[in-house]
Every structure is written in structure tokens, then in C-alpha cells.
Amino acid sequence: MSKLIRIGIVAVFALALAAATGQTSAQGQPKAASKGTIAFLLSGPDLYYQDGMNGAKAAAESLGYNLKVYSNPNISPSVELANVQNAIAQGAKAITGYSVGLSTEDASIAAAGKANVPILLMYGYSPKYLTKPSVVGFEQVNVVDYGKAVGQYVAKNFTGQLAIITGQLGRGDAEGYRTGFLQGAGCKGNTTAGLPPMTCANGKIQYVATETGHWLRPDGYKAAQDMIAKYPNLKILFSENDDMAVGAHTALVAAHKDQQVSMVSMNGAPYGLVGVKAGWIKAENTDSPALEGLNAVKLLNGYINKQVPGGKLYYSYTVFITKANMADAVGWNFFTNPRMVATYMKMPLLKPVVAPPGT
Amino acid sequence: MADPVLLEVEHVGKHFPGVQALDDVSMTLRAGEVHGLVGQNGAGKSTLVKCITGVHPPDAGQIELEGDPITTYMPKRAYDLGIAVVHQRTKLIPYLSVAENVLLGHLPTYHGAVIQRGEANRVTRDLLKRFRLRLDPEMLVHRLGPAERQQVAIARALFRRARLLILDEPTAALDAERAEHLFELIGDLQMQGVGILYVSHHLEEVFRLADQITVLRDGKVVATRPVGELDQNEVVTLMAGRRLENGIARPVGATAPESEPLLELDGVSNPVLRDIRLSVGAGEVVGVTGVIGAGGHDIARALFGLEHLSSGEIRLLGEPYVPQGPRQAIARGLFLVPEDPTRDGLVPVLSVAQNITIVDLPGITRGGLLSLRKERAIARRYVDELSIATGSIDTPVRNLSGGNQQKVLVAKALALGAQVLVLEEPTQGVDVHATAEIHRIVRSLADGGKAVMVISTDIRDLLQFVDRIVALRGGRAVADLPAGETDYAHMLDLTVGSLGAVA
């Protein structure tokens, strides 16, 4: 039995490996009349990043480039550096995508600068990079404003106890959203630290709890369970992304509290929009990673053609939606629709932020 | 003229929860004396040794070394004072060399940082030569056998100028030749004024080497006498508090020549064994002996399918048998009782009952499930039949003494209904009474029609209860005799002496 089984298992693994690599290499097939390759750093298997990559790919193809994806599924700093170096060695005309964290960003940007390869990253902005060589810029949402819009809506429409489910703390964005939200809701206290208890909206809202959901649905579920048990009269729940919101909603349904609690969220993911349509997400601020990716490639193309200067910060296009204006949301998967791609390609380039924070 | 007193144990007592391990124990050991310490398992020998070596302090009384009471209780202190212990399983560092182990803690260095290897080897070589120990200082310890490791431990003790050397069951892992060597070494040490505390179950050795004997029973000293004033039987009686039943079992004598052979080996060879030919019949107990490495254990392992055979034929219960592994051997009715119960034979955390039934789970399985009631019935039966001393059949087997663990192994064989049994060193490290019981059990197994092969380096022990004895030398069977037609000296000659010498 042993020898045959061993061969069988190796064969299965080899086939699976081949299938997997076959898929990814297919993504990098060179097209005819290519203007060169743009490298895309894909840091993580989440849908958000995948769709960002797909948007970039649509833009690249439309402009005549070929997009080569460098995967970093385990979100490992060393893999990111290796990816950047490989991209440079393989002759990338430009680099975009997502960096894993603040420390690797340094090395990645430095490597690109040394090789004179223009680089534009999504998220990870810091003013010190704007002056580095080859840095075309950064594209990301204005985290504070992004949260603020949601906070303002909440202050205007709801009263009672409020809880917040945050994403993974420590990267800056989760804290930024929370800070912006609390400011928008008029909360009195240290909104930068963002910890309860705080009184908001002229006393109409009490901020009582916050727990992290690590951007994940099962953890959002647990967080909602714990918070509704501790505060049975909870009225408002703000989730920093749609995955956690969906998880929280499932938990509230199981607890028969979904009618009592009003949820607001951020992201605009397809499953989040389902919630808006059904009414259990009252409102959310949305931003399409696909559009982000598309715009990033457009900007890089502009830089290569000397139409766009380097060293700028760009805010992503966001839309605050409720059930009423759902149609305004930019979907995450418009890239499957060539007409929509064409429409977005024709739109003007993003305008740089006049006074980026920190400068 | 009496030699100076080296060790004075005065009214020492030691209490553990539930048991008084030592009770008013007093003993005197002089320089240059070999003092034998005997007693049944659990009599307090190892506790006394631990008190002397500083592992734990006595609750009462005191211990004096050369007149100074020992007050600090740490093993390192004992070493500094010149007390050294060599245990049955010596604790050396396997991946360091002999020299590094011998000189441990006192390696010559350049400014305390870098080891002077050459110097270390030279010092070690001198030491070894002085005591006629044939070891290579640079050899890594994990490649040495148990006998050599013991020598390294002794060398280490000597290097630290031990004045009192405690030897605990030193010949357990030694064959006759190496045991003789050890006895010579002990003689040398005596002449140099080293005092030796010799703890052992082998009374003949104690009688041969010791000047004084102390007998412990239930934590108390029942006698301390010069060796000349006692004989072995008296000592055994003192150890047990009563007479040993029927003395030591006598050999049964030649078996009926027509008993059918249940196990036959013919021309069996492998890298160690050379053309082995032997057979064991129903109702026979055959002993196989020889020095370590002569092939005894290889025969056992090969029969059980644990080692490869390059040629030869084996017949089991009349049918051809090609060993493939323990499972197949057991299915064919052959069972091996391995040498070290805790390591090889028993699952320490499981209970007595569970260990016995593990060999035959289908036997207690009814309708796909284990019948715990049946298991308990089987366990109780064998605990009674073999007189296994345990508080309950649910006691984890690791809590039993060595002798009783051996009995649990035998119970396994019985539970299996095996027809052919191979026992490896069944009485090693087992006290006198348990040994006698094991002899009786083996004989009764044979009387029940089973074929039993006992592999042991202890010739004297074998001669007490086997029907035939086979001498192995260098992988060959050099003699196959009825027990009645040979004796210890003769067998020794065959296995190590000139009589059995092979080209």
C-alpha cells in the first residue's frame, strides 16, 4: 500500500499546485502590442485587495499595458520586498498595489527609487515619502473624513447607546475611522484615543463600548454578541467594514435584537450593499477598491507620459449612501462590465490634495 | 588496626507522606572497605543513598563524612565532599565526548573561555590508564554501550577524587567478563583507600566483594555484620523476615526427549548471528546466554520481526514462520517479553488492567465495544495468579516496582494465550523474592505445555530454573546442554573463556 499511496498523494499535490500556479500565471499573459508591464503588489487574499487588483488590471489592459501580479498571501514583509525586487528585475514600468505595513514601505519605496521605477501605493501615506525619488504618490481614502460622514449621519438620525466594532488596530486606518466617526457624531472627549465612555450629539447619544472584530466576519459576530449582552439596550452599532457588519447582523438576528439596533458601516462591498437594500444597514460610506486600482493605473500612466507630477496624495472617490441613493454607489466588481470600465477610464484623473496632512 | 571512619550514618530517619522510608538507620563505613547494602525493593536502600548524596535531608539523625556532619543538602555539595554515585542508568551527556563527561565542570581552559581539548584528552587518558579502563577519551558517549557508560561514570567519580563511591546495581547491565573487570577495579580502589558502598541484589557478588553487610528491611537496619559471620540464606531470611519458600528453585532436569518442538531455528543468520540452530519444545524452558553482543537479544528481536534475517528457516508450532513484525508474531502464537518494562513493554500511564488487555483487545470486545467488566475479570485473575503486588488493578503501571512490572508483562503473555514465549532478562534489577516468583511462574508456564526461551546474561540465574542452556559466542551457538550437565564456571568458560573460543 505504502508506495502506491505515496505516489498518489504526491500526484494530487502536484496537480493542485499546477492548477494553482496555472491560474496565477494566466493572469500575467502578455498581450499583443504591450506598452510594458505594470507590477501589482497583492498583499492578502481578501476580496478588497483582489478587486483592487482587478480594477487595476482593467485599466492596464485598456491603456495597453500588461499587469503582472506579485502575490503576498501571508502578508509577510520579507515577501513584499522580494516581490518589489523581482518586479524591478523583470522590467516593470511602474509599481502599484498595497504595502504590508509601515516598515516594509520604507524598503519598497527605497528599492523602487534606486531603480528609477515609479511607484504609487494605495494606503500607507506618510508625508516623508512625498519627496522621495520615483514616488508618484499615494491613493487612499481620507480616513478621518470617511468616518466623519458616518458619524454625522448617526448624530442626525439616531439616539441612545452606541457601540463601535473596529478593524485590526495598529495600522492607523481603524483608529482614523473611529476618530473621524466620533468627531462627526460630536462626541466630547479624546476622540483620537477613541475609547468609551463619551457623550455625543449634545447628549442624545452615549458611546458605551468598542471591541475589535479584526476585519473578520466571525469576530464581528462575537463582538456584537458580547456587546449586546453587556448593553441590552444598545441602539446604534457602527462597524468599520462590511464583513464585520454582516457578522454583527447575523448575531443580532440570533439574539432577536436586529430591529432594536441600527447599524451603520463602511466599505460598500457587495454583501454590504445587500444589507443596505434590505434595510439592516441604515447607511454606509463606500469606496470601491476596483476604482482605486483603476485610478492608480491611470495616474501612473499619466506620470509615465509626463502629464502628472510626482509626490502627491490623492483621495479615493467615496460615496455616502443610504437606501435612497444606492444607485450612486460605485460597485466593487464593475470591472466585469466593459462599458462601466470605459466610463471610468474616460473620467478625468483624480486631483491631488492641495495641502496633504503633515506637510 | 582499624581504618579511619569515612562515613557515619547516625540514627537517620526519613518520612514521606504515607510511609516511613528510613527508621533509625545507623551504619559505619571505613576507608578502603567495601560495605554491601542489601534489601528488598522498597526497603529503603535508594532513600538512604539519596540522603547520603544530598538529594534530600534526613528528618532525624545526621550523617558525618570523616567526622564532619553534612549540613548542606545539595548534590553538588556531596560531590565537593568526595561522595560519588554510579547509578544503574548513569546520567551522562550523550553528545559530548568521554573526556568532556569525565572532566565535566573542571575542563581545562584558556582563561576560562576556550576548552583545551588536547589537555583534556591527556588528563583523561592518564586517568583511564591508571584504572585500567579501556575507553577512548574522544569517543562520543551516545555511541557507547551501557557497560562503557558506567565506566565513564566511574571515571568521572574517580577524577573528582571521590573518597566514598556508591555503586547501585553496578552489574545489572554487565556481562560476566565486564563484571570481573569491575571487581578488579573495586579491588584497586580499596587499596587506595576509597570506601565503597555496594548496593545490589546479587548476593553472590556482595559476599565476594564486601567486608561488611548491612541488611535493610522496611526502612530499618536488621543486621550489620562482617561477611564471614553470615551466609546467603541467612541474609535472604533477614531481608524478608521469614524463610524463602522451598529455597531457590532447582532445575527440573532433562525434559522428555519426545516433547514436540514448538520453536525451531535452523541456519538462522544475519549480520550478528551465524548459523543458529536451536529448538524449544513444549514444556521446555531453554536459557540462552552469552556476553552482550553475542547474539542473545538479536535472536529475540529477530523472532519478533524487529530485525532482519538474511538466511535460515524458522518453524513455529510446526509451520514455517517468516517473522514480519510483532503483530504477525502474536497472531502466530509467539510473544516477546522485552527487557525493559517501562521503556519497551508497558504503557506507563495506563493501569495494570489496561496494560494486560492491550495485547488482546478483540478478546474483550463485544459487539464493537470494549467490555470493561471482562477486562477487570481478566486483570483480577492474573493479578491473583501471578501475585502482582498492587493496591488495585486501576493503578497506573508506572507506580509498580520493577519486579511487579515484569509480572504484568508475563500476564500479557498469558492473556494472549501465546504458545511460545521469549523472555528477555526477566530478572534484571528484580529483588530476590520476586526473582524466585518469576522462576516459579516460568516453570509453571512450561508445565502448562508452553515453550519458553529465556535470554539472559545472568548465567547463575538461568541455571536455577532452565531445562537446557545454550551458550552464544560471537553470534554462534557454541553449546547446547541440559542444565544438569553444566555449571557456572563451565558456562563462563564457554561464553568468555577459552573453551568456547571461536576462530
Partner: protein, 342 residues
Amino acid sequence: MATHTNVPLPARPPTEAPAPWSARLLGRLRHFMDIDVYAVWPLFVMVIIIAYTSTKSSTYLTVFNFENILSQVAPLGIVTMGQAILLISAGLDLSVGYNIALSSIVTGLLLEHGYSLWLAIGAGVLAAMAVGFTNGVLVAQNRAHPFIITLGMSIFLFGLDTQLTGGAPVNDMKGLYTAFGGNLANGFPFFGLPTVAIPLVIVVAFAYFFLRWTPLGRRAYAIGGNEEAAYLSGIPIKRTKILLYTLMGAIVGLTGMVLAGQINEASFNLAQNFELESIACAVIGGTALFGGRGGALRSLQGVALWGVVQNAIVFVGLSSNYQQMALGAIIVIAVMAQRPER
């Protein structure tokens, strides 16, 4: 059975006096309950924590909250039973997290494409069992430690999971959600008891029964306690290991169904960290890391403690970071409390 001697053994020397009936009763009780006094410390700690937390928050001691805890630990508890069985046999499975995800993804994708519920469940559980079987074969064949093998499998499954879904979760588990997403209807004796408790009870009972009463369970203890002795006693080591890992695969598959139904999602990150958490819970409960000791009930108390601690930290008002620290501390204490048995 053995035919015995017709020569009676001579009178044997008196054995030790049999232990007093109280000691024997205690021995039988310990054996039956598979618990000894030292191993019940998690329960004491739980009582203390519950008492303390109830003083900190008025909403803590409610049926609702404890049902929450139950629903939070139920999937983990199911998988911990399987992990305990493996640990007892001196093995372990680090591929649990992504294997749970795999079974949920297979089932979810089939449901999405309109296949029947039972077919989808069957396929999901089979997928997990195939992984378990592969683990078992690799562990049985190689001398390499199961740690390395199952870790490698975990990495492989991570890639497989993300490849199958492209990173996008399956958002509707249909029949599974109906089954496990909520509570038993009112009117039952157990109003509001989360439905995930049912599979938990079933699997715990199964694990207890399996370890106590089946030959395979007994062999697991033997192999874990002393593999060499088990081998020499005729136990088929390879075959037993393969069976145990395949059983683990089945338990993992079941966990996937339960968890996916509860959260109503199938995704690669459905059960991240479940492998370490299940090992930690089993260890806290007293199952030894090195094999041979442990049981279903005692591993369950590890899971219970885990759930109580996490929940208590929220109610006491500490930040989530303390949850991580507390859990880590418990694991260290639990391992230190395991007395070395050699």
C-alpha cells in the same frame, strides 16, 4: 485463553495488604471520571472569574450572556474533541483552521450553485475527511513529527481555500444557516439555547464514549503512552494513526458545517487560529501534549474556561488586547501545571 498449570504454585509469599476500600473507590472513581483533582483547576478558576465579573457588570449573570458564551465556544469545542483524541495518541493537527474553512467553502460553493443541502454537506465533510486521511497517511509513513506535516498541510489548504473562492466569501449558507444560525424555538425546555449546542453535546458524548469504550480509542492511549510498547503488543500503528486522523477530518468537517451555518459565511478566514486554540483548550483541560493522558470531559472544561475568560474581559471593560494576553497566560500556566510523568 491460556491453558494452565496442573502443578499448583507453591504457597506464595503474602502480598501487600490490599488498599483500603476508600483508596480503591477513589481509584475507580478517578478512572471512571477520567479526572483527577489537579486537573479540575479550570473549573475553580472559572467560578472565581464568574464571581468577580458579576460584581463588575449588572448584565453579566444572565441566561442570555451564558448562552452567548455557549454559542461562541461550541464550534471550538467540537474541534477540540478531535484534537484531544489526536493529542492522546501523541499526534496533533495544525491544519484544522483552513480545513474547517475548506469544508465550509466546498459546501458553500455547491449551495451557491443550487445543489441540494445534503449533497453539499456530504461533499464538505468528505473534503475534510480526505484532508484528514492525507494527514494520517503522511504522519504514519514518515518519521517526521505531525507538527511539520500538518503545518505544511495548513499552508497548502490556505492556498487552496483562497484559490477556490478568489478571496470572496460565500454569503448565504441556506439550509445550514437555518439549522445553526439561531436558537431552539421557544416552548422547548431549553428556550433560547443556541442550536449549535446540539452538535457540541453529540460530539462530546461521542468523544467520551470513543475514548473509553472502543478498541480504537484504547489503542490511541497506548500509542500515545508508549508507542514502542504498543508496537510490541501487536497494535497496528500505521493503520491506527490513519484512522485517527481521518476521524479528526470528519470532526473538522462537522465543525465546518456548524460554524458556517452559525456565521452564515464560507471563507478562508472562517476559523483562523482554531488549530492553536483547540490545542490550547485541550491542554488547559489536562490533556498532555506528549500523549497518553487526557479525556473528552476534561478537554471540554478547557473550552469552557476559554469562553468564560474572553467574555469576562469584555464585561470587566478591558480592551480586547487583554483577551489575547489573558489567553496566552492561561496556556502557559496550564502547561506548567502538567506534571512531567517520567
